[in-house]
């Protein structure tokens, strides 16, 4: 042992010598580790590590630079959302689920609302305009989510510029979300029965412009990364997982499609009217990080195509309802944004307070008590940017969910870390995890 170093103290345990690194002098640490005979080193990576994609802790067993064992430690972002929902009414549930996977809030809301609608038996009654808005919002969300996946993935592998481009595009999408729902994230915009409010005036031309801008801007990242020799060296043949591995581990989304299987719930089990849109399912057959990267890049264009078709449909459906007609479910309130970007429409308040006793009663009952959902259980799965997002919802007939469980693709897919990384180099774990694109808010819920 060398002299005591406050930045890298060590102590002996039955497991071997433990070094605590608190920053500062790495030289003395390397010297000390070098003086031990053992080749095998166990390293704790995270939970506050800049390239573990959030508060993910990886326990790595290394032989030199080769990884022999990986274990994930999760739960650092567990907030008990599923438990909390049991104490709020069905509509309030959307405010909770939207916060699970914070990069794809609209998918969480849609999965939850589709499950509640299935329990209510009103799936067919949801107005077409509401479904089209849902599809458009989800595809915009897919773009913003893939942008974070690509940007942070590249950043974690050492490429900084793609991150700037990706966040520039994400900003465009978030501005649209803000214009439509008032919020950039966690909107609780999609509600059981439809959507919270109609598109504001002038939204469609603005979104058309944004689509045009994004289509042009996406080329920046394509020219930077596709075929880039450094990028290829960091991603090709890395994080290998084939179809057999993916099915037994329950892997879905881009990771499954990178094995060549064109499994996309939007195509195979359509919901929200996805069968009425033209788009392609993107696959790759390389089973590696590069394949997953290409899938995400190409899915952007497919999302733009769907958005354009949705905008065409919306123009034809101008003025159609965006909420079910059933007054026992839909709030009488026609919520609208005020000039401050918040709040309720004064006209509406004037109407329900002054002239319509029925609306007042219904509003009061629906806001305080909520609506009753017939007892039973439902499982609805949708294709989120990360794979199959399933909402298991159980009702006991009351005004609150009895049990809500989200089958989060991030949670499930993160299990593949070990299969993808063991036997590889330590630097490649980062690429493998980034290609799964786990969002810890969704993993831990």
């Amino acid at each position: 042992m060398t002299t005591f170093d406050p930045y890298a103290p060590s102590r002996d345990t039955t497991e071997g010598t433990v070094f605590s690194v608190t920053g500062g002098d790495w030289d003395s640490l390397i010297q000390e580790i070098g003086s031990t005979k053992e080749e095998r080193v166990v390293v704790n990576m995270g939970p506050q590590h800049p390239s573990t994609h959030g508060v993910l802790r990886l326990v790595l067993e290394l032989e030199g630079e080769t990884v022999t064992e990986v274990r994930c430690g999760i739960g650092y972002l567990h907030t008990g959302i599923e438990k909390n929902m049991e104490f709020r009414n069905w509509t309030q549930g959307t405010t909770f689920v939207t916060r699970m996977d914070y990069l794809s809030p609209l998918f969480n809301e849609t999965a939850y609302c589709l499950a509640v609608e299935k329990l209510l038996g009103i799936t067919a009654d949801v107005p077409e305009r509401a479904s089209v808005i849902r599809v458009m919002m989800m595809e915009l969300n897919r773009i913003s989510s893939h942008m974070v996946a690509l940007g942070t993935g590249a950043l974690e592998l050492g490429a900084i510029t793609p991150m700037f481009f990706a966040f520039r595009e994400r900003e465009i999408v978030l501005d649209i979300f803000e214009m439509i729902s008032g919020l950039r994230m966690n909107m609780a915009y999609i509600r059981p029965g439809g959507v919270q409010q109609d598109l504001p005036e002038g939204a469609i031309p603005k979104i058309r412009d944004a689509v045009k801008t994004m289509r042009k801007n996406f080329k920046d990242n394509t020219t930077l990364l596709v075929g880039n020799s450094i990028w290829l060296k960091r991603t090709q043949g890395i994080g290998y997982l084939d179809l057999a591995g993916a099915t037994t581990l329950g892997i879905t989304g881009p990771v499954l499609r990178s094995t060549g299987l064109p499994w996309d719930l939007r195509k195979v089990q359509p919901y929200c009217g996805y069968e009425n849109y033209n788009f392609d399912v993107i696959t790759a057959d390389t089973c590696d990080v590069y394949g997953r990267f290409l899938i995400r890049m190409n899915e952007l264009e497919q999302s733009l195509r769907i958005i354009e078709q949705a905008l065409d449909k919306l123009e034809k459906l101008e003025g159609a309802p965006v909420m079910v007609a059933d007054k026992k479910i839909a709030w009488p309130a026609q919520l609208a944004l005020g000039s401050d970007g918040l709040g309720n429409s004064l006209n509406h308040i004037r109407e329900i307070m002054g002239t319509s006793m029925e609306s007042l009663i219904h509003h009061f009952k629906l806001v305080t008590e909520g609506f009753h959902v017939p007892a039973g259980q439902a499982y609805v799965a949708i294709e989120s940017p990360r794979g199959e997002l399933g909402a298991s919802v159980v009702s006991d007939g009351g005004t609150r969910p009895y049990r809500v469980h989200f089958r989060e693709p991030s949670f499930n897919n993160l299990q593949a870390t070990a299969a993808m990384s063991e036997g590889g180099m330590i630097a490649d774990i980062i690429g493998a995890v980034a290609s799964i694109d786990p969002v810890m808010g969704g993993v831990d819920r």
Partner: protein, 209 residues
């Protein structure tokens, strides 16, 4: 969940003609054939591939366009194997627990949504066990991806999955006491005061029965 201590209607409290205050109990019987959709085919295939069908499957329920097979827990692994290999349900989408404290000797349900990539079908398995004997055989041997899902259900409900390779807590800290998703586990929280009025924590607020 109590409604004492705060204002709130006793009885039905329905003065508006609002019809929503009637609860519909969940059906407890088996569904009648024909089940509709591809469900008959799934049931037939399973009966053919698994002679012990009538012994292992307690109930077949078709509700809201979904097929649920209620399986005896001793037969769960066998049924799962047949479903995976003969009926091509290649994927299990995890397991979700549900706690029904009022259902004597069947307090816990474990629900497994299955997916067949080959046939593009979905079904659901459900296993119910008593709180006093909350053991269910693990399905990690059948679908490796169930590993974390079973750990989560153990963490949240205390259901023990026998044969799981490492059944430890996954979301809560290792030394946590209790299982948060049980109905007898209080949500907790603190009262919030705002402009002189106090809002109690969520599980002390009045609730509509």
């Amino acid at each position: 969940m109590t409604d004492s201590g705060l204002f709130g209607a006793r009885g039905t409290g329905d003065t508006s003609g609002y019809s929503g205050l009637v609860r519909t109990p969940a059906s407890t019987g088996s569904s009648e054939r024909p089940y509709g959709s591809y469900f008959d085919e799934v049931a037939d295939d399973l009966e053919r591939a698994y002679p012990e069908f009538s012994h292992a499957i307690e109930r077949v329920v078709v509700d809201r366009g979904e097929l649920t097979l209620h399986v005896k827990r001793e037969k769960l692994v066998e049924v799962a194997m047949i479903l995976r290999d003969s009926l091509k349900f290649e994927m299990c989408m995890g397991v979700s627990g549900v706690h029904y404290p009022d259902r004597t000797d069947r307090e816990f349900s474990a629900v497994y949504p299955l997916l067949s990539l080959t046939h593009n079908r979905r079904i659901r398995l459900e296993v119910s066990v008593a709180d006093a004997d909350a053991h269910i055989p693990s399905l990690v041997e059948v679908w490796a991806g169930n590993n974390w899902h079973e750990r989560e259900t153990f963490d949240m409900f205390g259901i023990i999955f026998d044969g799981h390779p490492g059944l430890t807590r996954i979301l809560m800290p290792d030394d946590w006491q209790g299982h948060p998703q049980r109905k007898d586990y209080a949500l907790g929280g603190i009262a919030v005061e705002y402009k002189g009025a106090t809002t109690p924590p969520p599980n002390d607020r009045r609730s509509y029965k």
